[in-house]
């Protein structure tokens, strides 16, 4: 699958390969990873290491069981499982319950990816599915977020509701700057510092891995829907889009080539759906629902593809024969 790039015809040959794309995504995730480790310390580092090692390990073990040679696996290895593992770690809270990233990664790689045929054949985003399994299974631990504070390394760690939860439940809002930098905001490892995520997104856009328009559509729609649901209170716009995993999901998870519609129109529909669903589900459940929205939209992709097929040049619709 490594040679194929998913787009509509006409096709043009490029030097891109899955491995190159995935290495670029890893580089783009680096700022968020570093900021996560700076904010959350050793638990974050351990969570990231566990998730990455266990997802890469799961892929190797699965292929070895299938009877492939170790050398050929290494030759075909395209870093996509490392990306999956890193994303799973970045959208989990930082703590010492290391079995949670382990279970989420193994589930994501074995069940969601490898059982459906490996890279490029998964129906849904493996990282989103892995996170949801962990979220459903260990609700209390997964919802116990730690507020990052560099001073906290010496003090007792503050645990509490995320900014999103306090926004949804009490209506309290942190300052926009705090949300942007992630200082004092409780949340997942890689999702707190929005600046780092945006830097990664801009890097991907410059390397032409993703088209930045689509994530921006999703983020804008999510903000607008949140405004509408709160009775046209435009003060909600910025906190709503800067809280939780919306931006991270829009840039790194929803843009996954495999689980995206083919045509540009389809992609627009996909990202509008993602943004709107995230806000609507957030409003009515009170939980962070970005990964659920991604999963739902992933499942709708075949339908979107079917509805947004473009006509081939010169194609005329066959007239229905009269009976």
């Amino acid at each position: 699958m490594a040679e194929f790039k998913f787009s509509q015809s006409p096709h043009i040959k490029s030097g891109n390969s899955t491995r190159k794309v995935m290495i670029n995504v890893l580089i783009a995730l680096l700022p968020a990873t570093i900021m996560g480790i700076v904010y959350f310390g050793i638990p974050a580092l351990l969570t990231i290491l566990t998730a990455v090692i266990s997802s890469v390990g799961a892929e190797f073990v699965y292929e070895l069981i299938l009877g492939k040679k170790f050398k050929s696996i290494l030759k075909r290895f395209d870093f996509s499982s490392a990306v999956t593992g890193l994303i799973i770690a970045l959208i989990s809270p930082a703590n010492y319950h290391l079995y949670i990233p382990f279970i989420a990664s193994v589930f994501a790689i074995i069940v969601v990816k490898m059982l459906f045929g490996g890279t490029g054949k998964n129906l849904v985003n493996p990282a989103a599915a892995g996170r949801i399994v962990a979220f459903i299974s260990f609700t209390t631990i997964m919802n116990n977020f730690v507020a990052p504070n560099i001073a906290c390394i010496f003090d007792n760690v503050i645990t509490g509701a995320t900014s999103l939860q306090s926004l949804l439940f009490d209506g309290t809002r942190l300052s926009t700057l705090d949300l942007l930098l992630g200082t004092g905001v409780a949340g997942c490892i890689g999702e707190t510092c929005k600046i780092a995520i945006l830097v990664g997104g801009i890097y991907l856009a410059i390397r032409k891995i993703i088209n930045i328009i689509y994530p921006l559509i999703a983020i804008a729609i999510a903000g607008l829907v949140a405004v509408m649901l709160n009775g046209f209170d435009f003060g909600v716009f910025l906190p709503a889009i800067l809280s939780g995993g919306l931006i991270f999901g829009a840039i790194f998870m929803a843009t996954d080539y495999v689980t995206n519609p083919v045509s540009a129109l389809g992609k627009v529909v996909f990202f509008i759906g993602y943004g709107a669903l995230t806000s609507i589900l957030r409003h009515f459940t009170g939980y962070e629902t970005a990964s659920f929205a991604i999963l739902l939209m992933n499942l709708l992709v075949p339908l979107i593809d079917k509805c947004t097929l473009s006509k081939p040049f010169g194609y005329k619709k066959a007239k229905k024969e009269a009976k």
Partner: protein, 206 residues
């Protein structure tokens, strides 16, 4: 004796209602959160299956084929009512656990399917045996599934606490579909391997 073993292997393995025919999925998915529920449901279905098979086999010449489905449903519903009343009186805890799925045995596809495809064409003893082994196949399958889901989802087996670790995913309905799919895949994989071995050994003998 040959016929007996054929009916037995048919019910337990070759046409296992849960993993081979994929019948009766509704109670399979909903009730397998605990192994004990599986046994209770399985035995209730087995009882209804044996009784209805016997009665339908006896009445197969009397029932006109135009109205056979309502007639079967009536017979099945009679036995389900008996089971329901008995459970309510003597094992109320199981009665509560099975809930709405107990009266729903009436429309369980396994029972109607066996009535239609076996009991209405075969003599009484064969039908009784078929009901017994089909029911046992169902019981064993959903008890196994229930055990796996109980161990992983609640950290317990038959109500005994094993450890404090649990993955709630397996207790949820999504986990039910997941476990069911894994079981079907494994069951058919093992059967396929065994059949292949049989074919190979036949070839070698020749």
């Amino acid at each position: 004796m040959n016929k007996f073993s054929k009916i037995a292997s048919n019910g337990l393995i070759k046409e296992n209602p849960t993993f081979k025919l994929i019948l009766g999925t509704c109670p399979t998915l909903a009730l397998t959160t605990a192994a004990f529920n599986g046994i209770g449901m399985g035995l209730a279905v087995t009882f209804v299956l044996i009784c209805s098979n016997v009665l339908i086999s006896l009445l197969k010449k009397v029932i006109p084929s135009n109205v056979r489905i309502p007639a079967y449903i009536l017979i099945i519903a009679t036995f389900v009512t008996i089971v329901k009343l008995v459970l309510d009186k003597f094992i109320p805890s199981l009665y509560d656990a099975l809930g709405v799925y107990l009266p729903l045995i009436v429309v369980n596809c396994i029972i109607l399917g066996r009535a239609e495809s076996f009991a209405s064409k075969n003599p009484v003893t064969d039908s009784a045996l078929d009901g017994l082994f089909m029911g046992l196949g169902f019981t064993v399958s959903i008890t196994l599934m229930g055990a796996v889901r109980e161990i992983l989802g609640a950290g317990a087996i038959f109500g005994f606490k094993l450890w404090d670790f649990s993955i709630d995913f397996f207790a949820s309905s999504a986990g039910a579909f997941f476990t069911y799919a894994i079981f079907i895949a494994l069951f058919n994989f093992i059967l396929y391997k065994i059949e292949q071995k049989k074919k190979l050994s036949l070839l070698e003998v020749k």
